[in-house]
């Protein structure tokens, strides 16, 4: 009974939050609602007994949205409404509704054809983390390694792009001299 109550509370909250993300004109509202929605989604993982995924959801998304806030700080005056420039509202609404229906059909199709089954049933006496580890390092080893290579490439690219004249120490040297050297 409590699970059902919790499920409905979390679904109402997360749907409400994401509705604010889409509908609000204020960047600060949208970002805060996004963070809130992501955290409420982690509630579903906790209800399903997947605590590890729930915690990862909180940690990863709170950090990621924190970076989004940093961009918001740089690009907007977040206390003011953003002027939206939508030329054709009808097309935007039609496309978004169509894509929402499409996503729902894709996700619900296995239920109707009843072809959904657990390929990797839960193992008795194994924790969340052990089970994820087993699947990740056997069945999904290649995608996992590919993802890590992609992250490594992105990291090196970031360092290369940002590392021009990183050896100059700003705090000790003369500021104008640093500006000259960087140029």
């Amino acid at each position: 009974m409590y699970e059902i109550i919790a499920f409905y509370i979390f679904s109402a909250l997360s749907i409400g939050m994401f509705a604010i993300v889409v509908l609000s004109k204020n960047a600060l509202y949208a970002m805060s609602a996004l963070a809130g929605g992501m955290i409420f989604i982690s509630g579903f993982f906790f209800i399903l007994g997947a605590e590890f995924l729930g915690v990862v959801q909180i940690t990863v998304y709170s950090g990621a949205i924190m970076a989004l806030y940093a961009f918001g700080m740089m690009f907007f005056d977040t206390t003011r409404d953003v002027k939206e420039n939508i030329k054709n509202k009808k097309i935007a609404y039609t496309l978004s509704i169509l894509s929402a229906i499409l996503v729902m059909v894709i996700l619900c199709a296995p239920f109707f054809s009843s072809a959904i089954q657990a390929n990797y049933p839960t193992i008795q006496n194994a924790g969340n983390i052990q089970m994820i580890g087993l699947v990740l390092f056997t069945k999904y080893l290649v995608p996992f390694e590919l993802a890590s290579i992609m992250l490594l490439v992105a990291m090196i690219a970031g360092i290369v792009l940002a590392s021009k004249k990183m050896d100059i120490k700003v705090e000790t040297s003369n500021e104008s001299q640093v500006v000259k050297e960087v140029k």
Binding site: Y29, A35, I39, F52, T59, S62, A67, T79, N128
Partner: protein, 330 residues
């Protein structure tokens, strides 16, 4: 109705944890003023009550009766929400922390932990890091330049310390093989020599430093440092809204103290003749005292120095520590 019993028990535990830690946090403000005063050869609050103990009540009355000001250009809902986030996340993080050993009361076995989830370490650290949203939202919604600077510093600080605290905690977890705080505590159950601080001294130091950053304590309190950014994110706040940020900060201090005590300092295992619960209280009190001691003894550092030390010194050290631990375990 076994399920209902569990829910009622959890609610009672949550209320107890909430009220006791909030009370302890309030008391810690008085302790802080006294300890700082003694270290600076002053007396600190002396007038209200015996030895100034009732200063707490006076502060509380002042905070509650102060005029509640919301600036005209502020984003009102977010401005109101920010201190609530700061306080609630600090208390939510405590849900997975075991404080004392199991005990029996009226023939009913009680485990002093609100919810024993098997990824407790990650949960506590994740939820506590969500607490940075409090200062961040406060700074961004206040429409004040100092507040915005404080918020920017909060982002910088969070992105820096999270890496260090996450990586430093990984090495002890690799040794224990579990993320549950109860398992971590039981691993160190055979006396002082089995404390993880002896096996993982580097991880201990890194985690403690990350804890100082997480709780905005000096020397890492860049986001509200008076000499640079007035009062940082809290510049526009007054009364109880301002107070809620500091309830959250002191609750976070208690959480970090409990975490360090459990992970590195033997947790609630009895030491010689000292029973487990008392040992835990002593360790947590020592850590609270250490927070105050460091505040009295160390100067602040700048945000760029904080980033520099996190990314160029602490993070490589943490990675090296993990590699060495890995080789030792293999």
């Amino acid at each position: 109705m076994n399920e209902t019993a569990v829910v009622i028990e959890t609610i009672i535990k949550a209320v107890i944890v909430l009220s006791v830690t909030a009370g302890m946090g309030a008391f810690a403000t008085w302790i802080e003023r006294k300890v700082l005063a003694f270290m600076q050869r002053r007396l600190g609050p002396m007038h209200v009550g015996p030895y100034g103990v009732l200063q707490l009540a006076a502060d509380g009355i002042k905070l509650f009766t102060k005029e509640d000001i919301i600036p005209q250009n502020a984003v009102k809902p977010i401005f109101i929400l920010a201190p609530i986030i700061a306080a609630t996340t600090a208390f939510t993080a405590m849900a997975a922390v075991p404080y004392f050993p199991e005990f029996t009361l009226f023939g009913y076995k009680i485990t002093p932990i609100v919810s024993d989830i098997n990824v407790a370490v990650l949960y506590v650290m994740g939820v506590a890091s969500v607490g940075v949203y409090g200062p961040l939202l406060a700074g961004m919604s206040s429409s004040n330049k100092w507040s915005l600077l404080g918020a920017a510093r909060a982002v910088v600080q969070m992105l820096s310390f999270e890496v260090v605290s996450g990586l430093s905690i990984l090495a002890p977890i690799m040794m224990i093989g579990s993320l549950s705080l109860i398992d971590i505590n039981d691993y160190q159950s055979s006396g002082v020599t089995s404390w993880l601080i002896w096996k993982q001294p580097l991880a201990f130091l890194l985690f403690a430093m990350a804890g100082f950053m997480e709780t905005n304590r000096s020397p890492f309190d860049t986001i509200e440092f008076e000499a640079e950014v007035v009062s940082g994110y809290a510049t526009e706040y007054s009364g109880m809204r301002w107070g809620l940020f500091f309830v959250g900060e002191y609750a976070n201090m208690i959480t970090v103290s409990v975490l360090v005590s459990i992970i590195f300092m033997g947790g609630y295992n009895p030491i010689w003749f000292i029973p487990g619960a008392l040992a835990m209280l002593l360790k947590v009190s020592f850590w609270i005292f250490l927070f105050l001691w460091v505040r009295a003894a160390w100067p602040h550092i700048r945000p760029d120095q904080l980033m520099w030390v996190c990314w160029k010194v602490l993070m490589p050290l943490a990675v090296i520590n993990i590699v060495i631990t890995g080789f030792a375990l293999v």
